[in-house]
Each structure stands twice: as structure tokens, then as C-alpha cells.
């Protein structure tokens, strides 16, 4: 499943590549590299160890049950349509996964933060953000997460995550963010 966000990122990369190509000076097209015949791989004797081996975590992995795990493997944000607070079909699998994860780690408490895009007035957007946060909260509660583990708040249009006055930025800023406030390591 692709999130809206990653689709937007991918398309942004695509645009950048296209733009770079357009800016590049005219050149003869390079021949496409042809895959060569595969070399038979021969087993070889291991040599003697040549230096110390230091342990370390790979960047980008996260321990199960951690905040990073929730963010990277579940996804902590879902997106909404313009002036709408119904959970979109494409957001439901992610919210179901959030509920499953929260049910697996019952000490975790979360705060659902409702957000709105900049194309609305301040107080209406606060009310709209509150509806979005509530839509996510009730989805999680319906999937078995105890209501007393969930707080909600609306940030209205005050805490955008995407910069810019365009549809892509607005689409990202219409969201509800499930923030882990306690009960899980980073």
C-alpha cells in the first residue's frame, strides 16, 4: 500500500528528474547498458579476519513496539478530503493497523491531532480539525483500543506539515496524526 505522502514524494522525484533532463545540455543518447552473461559464482575460501567488527543499529530500523516502529511500519498519519472528516477508504487499512499495533502494546497512550489546510478561516478549521481527530479516535475505539488511552486535539491550520500554497500541500495538511505520548520507547 502506498500512502498519499509517498505517492506525492515519488511524483515529486519524477518531476525533478524530468526537470533535470529538460535542463541538461543536448547530448547523444547513451547506449543502454546491456545485462551481460551472468558469471558463475565460485565458492571461495574465507580469508582471515582483517579488523575489528563493531556492532551498531542500522538507521531506519526500529525496535518492535517503539515510536519508530509505529511511524515507519504502521504509519502515523491519515489524510482527508477537502472540508471532509470521513475516514477515506485508503486510510482505513492504516487505521486498522494502528489499532492492531495499539492493542499489541497496551501501555501506549496516543494523542490524535486533527489538522486542516490553510484554505479556511481559523476557528472553523479548529472545529474541522476536531472532527477529524474524533473520526480517527472512534475508528480506533471501534477496533478495540480503550478510549481512555486516546486524547484528541485540533491544531486547526496552525501546524502544517507541508509548505506551499498548492493542492499537494493542502492535501497533506488535511490530516490526523496519531502521536504516541507515552508507553513506547523512541
Amino acid at each position: 500500500m502506498y500512502s498519499t505522502r509517498s505517492i506525492i514524494r515519488l511524483s515529486a522525484v519524477g518531476v525533478m528528474v524530468a526537470a533535470m533532463a529538460a535542463c541538461a545540455p543536448r547530448q547523444q543518447p547513451e547506449p543502454m547498458p546491456q545485462p551481460g552473461p551472468s558469471q558463475p559464482s565460485q565458492p571461495s575460501q574465507p580469508g582471515a579476519p582483517t579488523g575489528p567488527v563493531n556492532p551498531g543499529t542500522l538507521p531506519g530500523t526500529a525496535a518492535p513496539g517503539s515510536v519508530g516502529d509505529f511511524r515507519q511500519n504502521i504509519g502515523d498519519r491519515v489524510y482527508f478530503d477537502l472540508d471532509s472528516y470521513s475516514v477515506r477508504a485508503d486510510a482505513q487499512p492504516r487505521l486498522d493497523a494502528q489499532a492492531q499495533w495499539l492493542n499489541r502494546y497496551p501501555n501506549v497512550r496516543v494523542r490524535i491531532e486533527g489538522n486542516a489546510d490553510e484554505r479556511g478561516t481559523r476557528e472553523y478549521n479548529l472545529a474541522l480539525g476536531a472532527r477529524r481527530a474524533e473520526a480517527v479516535r472512534s475508528h480506533l475505539v471501534n477496533r478495540g483500543v480503550a478510549a481512555n488511552r486516546i486524547d484528541t486535539i485540533s491544531y486547526g491550520k496552525e501546524r502544517p506539515i507541508a509548505q506551499g500554497s498548492n493542492e499537494e500541500a493542502w492535501a497533506q495538511n488535511r490530516n490526523a496524526h496519531t502521536a504516541i505520548v507515552s508507553g513506547a520507547p523512541q
Binding site: 472528516y85 494523542r111 490553510e118 484554505r119 479556511g120 478561516t121 481559523r122 476557528e123 472553523y124 479548529l126 472545529a127 474541522l128 476536531a130 472532527r131 477529524r132 481527530a133 474524533e134 473520526a135 479516535r137 486524547d151 484528541t152 486535539i153 485540533s154 491544531y155 486547526g156 496552525e158 501546524r159 502544517p160 506539515i161 507541508a162 509548505q163 506551499g164 500554497s165 505520548v181
Partner: protein, 455 residues
Amino acid sequence: MRPNKRLNALIAGVAAIALAPAAVTPVMAQSGSPEVEITEGVLRPLQIAVAPFSGPNGADISGVISSNLQRSGFFDPIDPNAFIQQDLNLSNQPDFPQWTRIGAQAVLYGSATPQPDGRVQVGFRLYDPYRECQLVGFAFTATPDNWRRLAHKVSDVVYQRLTGEQGYFDTRVVFVSESGTGLNRFSRLAVMDQDGFNPFFLTSGEEIILTPRFSNNPNEIAYMALGEDYSRIYIMNLQTGRRESIGEFPGQVFAPRFSPDGTQIAFSISVGGNSDIHIMNLRTRQTRRLTNDPGIDTSPSFSPDGNQLVFVSDRSGSARLYTMRTDGSGQRPISRGGGAYTAPSWSPRGDLIAFTKQQGGRFHIGVMDASGGGERLLSSSYFEEGPSWAPNGRYIMFARQAPGGGSRLWTVDVTGRVVGQASYSGMAGDPAWSPLLDPPPANLGVGQASDSCPG
């Protein structure tokens, strides 16, 4: 920074006395009234000569007066380089032909005079050079560091005498100062004079500040502070800098508004995603719920008589304006057009309701009658919101934002004629206009007190 000491000084009282007409009594009345005609049609700005005031800060004072009058849209101050008579002083009346020759319909002159107690008295006279009579003569006294306030008070008297409407220059504006860019923004509560001078920060920037509003006391405001995990309504005293939360509620509070007498505060509480309007008695701290439906109900604004509220509701499916009595009864929609109506503000005159309207991919500031009829859009742009009335009910300040840009303060008058960026040029939103800092002097109208012009 310790802003409040300075604020105290600014708020300090300004004493007032009326001046009898200058030595020579007017000779002959000529025809034609110089007063500005306030109609909803074409404006003919009044040509006024504001002679440089004498004495300490005198020229600065007359400069502030001239800018105030010009910004109002009703006056066209004449370039002082065109003045023929250079020796006007408070003990004389103008040499009338020298002023009518340059087209002056009114002549204002005055003097700042240090007093034995260390204060300064600013006396001034306003003459009609065609009818050759004094329209008003008056003096205000204050400490010398209050010279801008003295200028605003003189401006108010001139405005009131020539337009017949209450002035609005001796006022301040509380607003949210914005800084940073893009995703790394922070906001601070700030207050300034209505002309953009003397800006002071009132908060330090740890919280997001939203929707400040004055009570009927120009030293008292309410606003909303939004933290990472809380939302509070504070009442702050601008003289002491003290602030107090109105309490903790089961839900998120926002959109605070004082009642016209300052004894109650209406606001929204969002519980389970449903925002409803409540009202709190600030003495007893008792809160009553006024709306009770699953729609969004927010942005309340009291009528000036305190009997009604206009508010936003989307109970019908889209955001519209509704009115109700302050006990919650009689809820009914008033806005009639398409588009989304939000952020209403009832005029201090009671006749109009200003609002923000979103329609056709643009945002508009408009006004309608209190019953919802006679809608007029005054200003339109990519984005604008949050109209706030000057205390005389003629001017509206609001925030306007260009695509990808910061928010700035703008002003429009009820006819849509005087649209301009407000004098404060920094990034700012959510302006709220104060009441007059103290009551205007009485008995300065036509045929009253110092007025020697025939009626």
C-alpha cells in the same frame, strides 16, 4: 523586555478642556457647509490645512494628525508647502482669505505648551475659513511621552466635528505577530496603536496564539493559546501583564468573545468532535451551553446591546451565519448566499455584521444587515479573514495573505472604498480593534461649546 511599564504610561489619562474662540469674533457667515458628507456614494474628501503645531513635539503631533485624517479617506490634507500664512498661533484666528485661496475647507492649528507640573498641554483650533468661524477649540494635557496619544485625541475631535461620527484614532489593536517561515513559524500576542506605532509583544512565543479580542475595557483582552497538548482561553490585563485561564473544560476551548459589558464570555467547546457555543458568567464562573446540535457551532459575536449572538454553524451542511438570543433561544440562519460564511463580527453600531466568505476559490470580507439582507462584499483576494470593527463601526481591519506569503493587516471601510494595508507592515494576523481608550469629550458638536459657527 518589560513592556508593561511603558504600557501604563501610554494608558495614563489625558485631561481635556474646551477653548473659547480666538480673540477676534467671526465677522460674516458665508454660504456653504464645509463638513464632509458621509454617504454611501462617491466621497469628496475634505481639503483640510493642518498647520504645523508649535512647541515641543508640535510638528510631530500635527504630522500624526494629518496622517490619521488622510488614512480615514474623508480628508485630503493640503501640502504644508502651499500654505501662505505661516504665523498662525493659538491667540489668533486664521487670515481667512489666505486659506480659502489655497482651497482649504478647514484649518487646524495648535500648540504644545509645557506646563509647570511637567506635563504638556496641546491646544488647538479648527476653523471654517469660508464661514470665518471656529468649529472647535480644545486642549488636552498629558505627560510629554504621550504626545502620540495627544495627537490621536486631537484627530478624534477633528474627525468627530467634521464628519458627525465618533472618532476612532485613540485606539489600539491587539494582534498575533507572526515570524519564521513555512513550517517553522511562531506567533506572539502583540498590541500597537491603531496607526501601527508603539508595538509591544505580550507573550514570548512558546504557544500558538489565536483570536485575541478586547473587552469593553481597553486594558483587558481574551485570547486562545494552543500548546502541543492543550488549548486554553486566557484573559489578560494589559496594564499588569497578568493573565488567567478561564478554566479547564472537558474538551477543547476556542473562539472567546466578551459580552459588550465585559461580564460574560462566549466561546466554543469541542467535545467528541462536536463544537458547541457556551457562555460563561465571569463573576460566578458558571457556564451554560447555548447550542446543542451535531454541527459545528463557533465564532460567536455579541450584538452591541448584548441581547443576541451571531455565530457560524454548518448544521445545514455548509457554513452559514446564524443568530440567537444569549440564552440560546431563537436560533435561525441569516446568511442567504452560496459559499461558506465564517468569522462574523457584529458592528458596534449594531446595524451590520461583517464576515468572511469563501466562494469561487477566493476569500472575501463583506457586511450584511443584522437580519442577513443587503449583503455587500467589500474586499476580495486569494485569502483574507477575521474582520474586526473600529469602535465607530465604519472601518474594518482584517488579515490578508498572498499565496505562499505571510499574513498582513489590512483595513477597509464599510463602503469598500478605503482599502489599504494597515500601517503596521510586519507579518500579522487576527487583528482586534479596541474601544476608544477613554470617552471622547462631550459637547463638541455643532452649535455646542466652542463652536461659534452659525447653525
